[in-house]
Amino acid sequence: MEFSITPILLSLKVAVASVLIVSCLVIPIAGHMAKRDFLGKDIVESILTLPLVLPPSVVGFMLLYLFGKNGPLGKLLESLFNIQVVFNLWGAVIAAVVVSFPLMYQSVKAAIESVDPNLENAARTLGAGEFRVFWTITLPLARNGVLAGFVLAFARSLGEFGATLMIAGNIPGRTQTMSLAIYFYSESGMTQQAMILVLIMTAFSFLVIYGLNRWGKGPNHRSKRGIMND
């Protein structure tokens, strides 16, 4: 039996890149959305969480349209950074970013909203500007939600299939990630190879869920907040 670890490495590359990009996007956006009210906030909120409910083929089609050779974003990326997204690992990264964004967004936003506003107000009366309040008070106190979002986004990025297939294709050694490899191994009768990857994915997913559950119950008394004021 011939077994290649390349799909595992590609999946890891995609997941790490995706989580880094998603974190950079989610933290400022969720911070802003949790604390500010503006016209059309509900619409923006719906757009941000839309990929959570859209079928993967729809996301894939949209990405193909936007990032294709003649798509507006595809042209821009090619002219600015000479990056071609379609049939490239970048395509897989973008697909992973889009589908994992809402998961991390919801987790981080809920955590930020649950921070006692009096603690932030206390920091303001002590002379802290909004940026310092966010980085030294809000974010550290929301860290459980941020870390949970981080793990969920990583797991979701690792398992992304539908949109990845449409935008990055299934090129062994280049864009064939674990989920894609499982599908094509099983289609072409390479059951054993598929089985190994299935076991790895299942074990990893189990660890993620188990870890998150344990963590939720664990003793984290220092992160608990004080009683709220009226």
Binding site: D116, N118, L119, N121, A122, A123, R124, T125, L126, G127, A128, G129, T136, I137, P140, L141, H221, R222, S223, K224, R225, G226, I227, M228, N229, D230
Partner: protein, 222 residues
């Protein structure tokens, strides 16, 4: 000298305040939901009054006419929150140093912190977290943290309400001592009339947003 004359629209009534105070203690009493906390928040810059003017010393911090609204971080006001609002992820020392300007040398910052910690007898708690200290100790830490910014005005929102009677009596005396030492105006919100009488040089009652003077400031020679 603090001068305020402002109004703030609230869902069920309008809060109307017209007050002048010098370097002494003003106690505000009134039932829950009367607008006491809102008054403090308006003075601190955490809420914006609908209209009027607030002056701290010579500085206008809010004026609807002149369109001035100085943000909370620039008002130099010490605020002790009802449940202290100590940062749970920081030690007592980190809490106390939070408001101290970074540009001051760290040795100087620590010296100032030690001074205040000793005055309030909480020096031994420096490396503890807020979850690890008692209610009375938290109250002292909150007071120390607010004083570290060298405020021109102290606002205290029911600072003693969560404490047992013994600790309360002790801390009332300490508050008086601290105020006497710092000689800055204190505005203290309480629902306990007895406490207001012990601490307040001036007492006002707020109910449904309307204020009523219960004890006038005695003209004393300082």
């Amino acid at each position: 000298m603090i001068k305020m004359n402002f109004h703030k629209k609230l869902p069920s009534f309008e809060l109307r305040i017209d007050l002048t105070l010098d370097n002494r203690i003003l106690a505000i009493v009134g039932p829950s939901g009367a607008g006491k906390t809102t008054l403090l928040q308006c003075v601190a810059g955490l809420k914006k009054p609908t209209g009027g003017e607030i002056k701290i010393g010579d500085k206008v911090v809010f004026s609807s006419e002149q369109r001035i609204c100085v943000p909370a971080r620039q008002r130099r006001i010490g605020y002790v929150f009802q449940d202290y609002a100590l940062f749970p992820h920081m030690t007592v020392e980190q809490n106390i140093l939070y408001g101290k300007q970074k540009k001051e040398r760290s040795a100087e910052r620590k010296l100032a912190a030690n001074d205040i910690l000793e005055t309030l007898k909480i020096g031994h708690l420096k490396s503890r977290y807020p979850m690890e200290i008692s209610g009375g100790e938290k109250q002292r830490v909150a007071l120390a943290r607010a004083l570290m910014t060298e405020p021109e005005l102290m606002l205290l929102d029911e600072p003693l309400s969560a404490l047992d009677q013994n600790t309360r009596d002790k801390l009332q005396q300490e508050l008086l001592k601290v105020q006497n030492q710092w000689r800055i105006p204190f505005i203290l919100v309480t629902h306990d009339m007895r406490e207001a009488e012990i601490l307040g040089d001036q007492i006002i009652k707020i109910d449904q947003g309307k204020m009523e003077v219960m004890k006038k400031l005695q003209e004393t020679v300082i």
